[in-house]
């Protein structure tokens, strides 16, 4: 055992170091072409850090909502709440220093519907959008299929038009037509364009501080955005998770019928620290997600830009920019939009016009993947997870079964659909929003919980049905 495991350990460590070297050499190469690529590289490096933490904590945010219903285990829900608390504190400091890159999401019915579709999808894919990236970094080819499905489904959803356009309410079409958009975007064709211009644009995205007229004030940021929108809901949810999922076992283990307040608090603490890796990853992810906004904010100020598109123009790269000469550049942790751009870019290369819509044509552009800054964050997550998995001997090429490949494609497509309707995934539409004072993220999480609940019911029914049919599945 020792000889072979030492060999594998050594091999894994060497491969991990090889990936680190690749990132370092790649970064130096990019900087040697143009030092302004530093802005893009920040995305890469934070991606690598996210990937390492996600793999270290085996941080499966899909299981945060799913496992509450599937197996009644709160481990990841707790991990996610820890990450939210930490991110919100760092985000408050970043906002106070004036370097926040955050934009709130429009709030409406679409948030809960998108969240529900996304939440349903993740039960079948075995991971959320970030989860699929880090699991791909562990060698899981099922997760790679999920990423492909998320990329292409989104690209098709935002750019296609057909008979289904007529399902959209006439009022949205009228409202979209009244927006006076450039003709090449054809905003009254394609249901996603009509949805964006005729519905989303009529809604407002607002932070809690803005609701109370205290935007950009210290009180607004600390009390309303951080405490009321993130810390207080996290505290309430932790108490609820404890009462519904942990307290009974805690009582049984303590052997008492009644607990003192101190013992109850001890129970909550035990719940939060029951998986040390997950708790540590939650803390790390929270802090670095906040720092990411700060670093990008400082660089934007330094280079005097608001969007990476301006820098690309200055560097002479004008292909794939939107009509506003912008590209997708959130300035914080985000997953789904850049993956949509990968799919859209491939379709564009295949001769399908994917720029005649608001999503790519007006807002996010379709840059070459080599110049797609947030795209490199996603690649960074895969690489960072590989480094961690290889050095912990957890890397393994895994080929999916036909069944799980089917689920990956269908579930990934639903995730793509949910992410576009709900304006993001559990990172962009939940994690990054609630930590920056935008309460719409809690609505998205509520949607995800409903979707995951239905998804777990459907998945269990499928498992029972397929087990009764061929008596196999996961061989007993």
């Amino acid at each position: 055992m020792t000889a072979s495991s030492n060999f594998f350990t050594q091999k894994g460590t060497l491969q991990a170091m090889g990936i680190v070297l690749l990132v370092v050499v790649g970064s130096l190469w990019a900087l040697s072409i143009d030092s302004r690529f530093l802005y893009l590289l920040v995305y890469v490096w934070f991606g690598v850090i996210y990937g390492m933490f996600l793999q270290y904590g085996r941080f499966c945010m899909a299981s945060a909502v799913r496992d509450l219903f599937a197996v009644k285990v709160p481990r990841m829900a707790v991990g996610m709440m820890i990450a939210v608390a930490l991110y919100s504190i760092v985000a408050a400091i970043v906002s106070l220093s004036g370097f926040s890159t955050f934009h709130s999401n429009a709030l409406g019915w679409h948030v809960v519907i998108g969240g529900a579709i996304f939440g349903f999808g993740i039960v079948f894919t075995g991971g959320c959008a970030s989860g699929s990236l880090y699991k791909a970094g562990e060698g899981n080819m099922n997760s790679m299929l999920v990423i492909l499905a998320i990329s292409f489904s989104q690209a098709i959803i935002v750019s296609s038009s057909g008979w289904w356009d007529s399902l959209v309410p006439q009022s949205w079409i009228d409202s979209a037509a009244a927006k006076d958009m450039p003709a090449e975007l054809s905003v009254t064709q394609g249901w996603f364009d009509i949805f964006t211009a005729g519905y989303i644009w009529n809604l407002k995205g607002i932070t809690t501080a803005e609701i109370f007229g205290l935007a950009d004030t210290a009180v607004g940021i600390v009390v309303f955005n951080t405490f009321l929108t993130a810390i207080l809901p996290v505290a309430i949810l932790l108490v609820l998770l404890y009462i519904f999922y942990y307290r009974k076992g805690h009582l049984r283990r303590s052997g008492k019928a009644v607990l003192t307040m101190q013992e109850e608090i001890g129970g909550i603490w035990a719940m939060c620290t029951s998986s040390k890796n997950t708790a540590l990853a939650g803390i790390g992810l929270g802090i670095f997600a906040g720092l990411h906004m700060y670093v990008t904010g400082v660089l934007r100020e330094h280079y005097e830009i608001l969007n990476f598109g301006e820098m690309l123009v200055a560097m002479g790269y004008t292909n794939g920019l939107s009509l506003q000469e912008t590209v997708f550049d959130p300035g914080y942790w985000y997953i789904t939009t850049q993956e949509a751009q990968w799919g859209g870019w491939v379709m564009q290369q295949l001769g399908i016009n994917t720029m005649d819509n608001i999503f790519f044509g007006l807002d996010n552009g379709l840059p070459n993947p080599l110049l797609n800054a947030p795209g490199f964050m996603s690649i960074g997550i895969i690489l960072g997870a590989s480094v961690m998995a290889l050095s912990r001997r957890e890397f393994k090429w895994k080929t999916p079964s036909w069944e799980s490949a089917f689920f990956a494609i269908v579930g990934g497509t639903l995730m793509g659909l949910g992410a576009r309707i709900g304006m993001g995934c559990n990172i962009g539409a939940f994690f990054a929003t609630v930590t920056n004072g935008d309460p719409s993220g809690w609505v998205y999480l509520f949607g995800m919980v409903i979707g995951a609940y239905i998804g777990v019911k459907a998945f269990t029914m499928w498992m029972d049905w397929s087990a009764s049919r061929n008596n196999s599945g996961c061989d007993l």
Partner: protein
């Protein structure tokens, strides 16, 4: 992996494997659930199902190569009111042992 010595015997119609795990001594194993290659939540749901079928005091083994599933097993055991005994690392998967209370 010399942590486990296995011996099979049949007891009362049930296949029982006697295994020896470091730190735990000899344990009679009632069922083994092979979840290698399975994505979440299948390993968790199958474990729940098998635990529902065995008798109190029985020990089951779950094999998985899914790191995030393995990480959640101690918490799963707590939630299912069973005793989490140990996780044994093999070259490219894990064996986990749970005793039904």
């Amino acid at each position: 992996m010399n942590l486990i010595f296995e011996r099979r015997r049949s007891a009362g119609g049930r296949v029982v494997r006697e295994i020896e795990i470091a730190d735990l001594g000899k344990i009679a194993l009632v069922r083994s659930v092979d979840c290698i290659g399975a994505m979440c939540p299948r390993p968790q749901l199958l474990t729940m199902k098998v635990l529902g079928e065995v008798r109190p005091g029985d020990v089951i083994e779950v094999m998985s190569d899914n790191p995030s599933a393995v990480e959640g097993f101690p918490a799963l055991a707590q939630a299912l009111n069973c005793e989490y005994l140990k996780t044994v690392r093999e070259t490219d998967y894990w064996r986990m042992y749970l005793r039904k209370s």
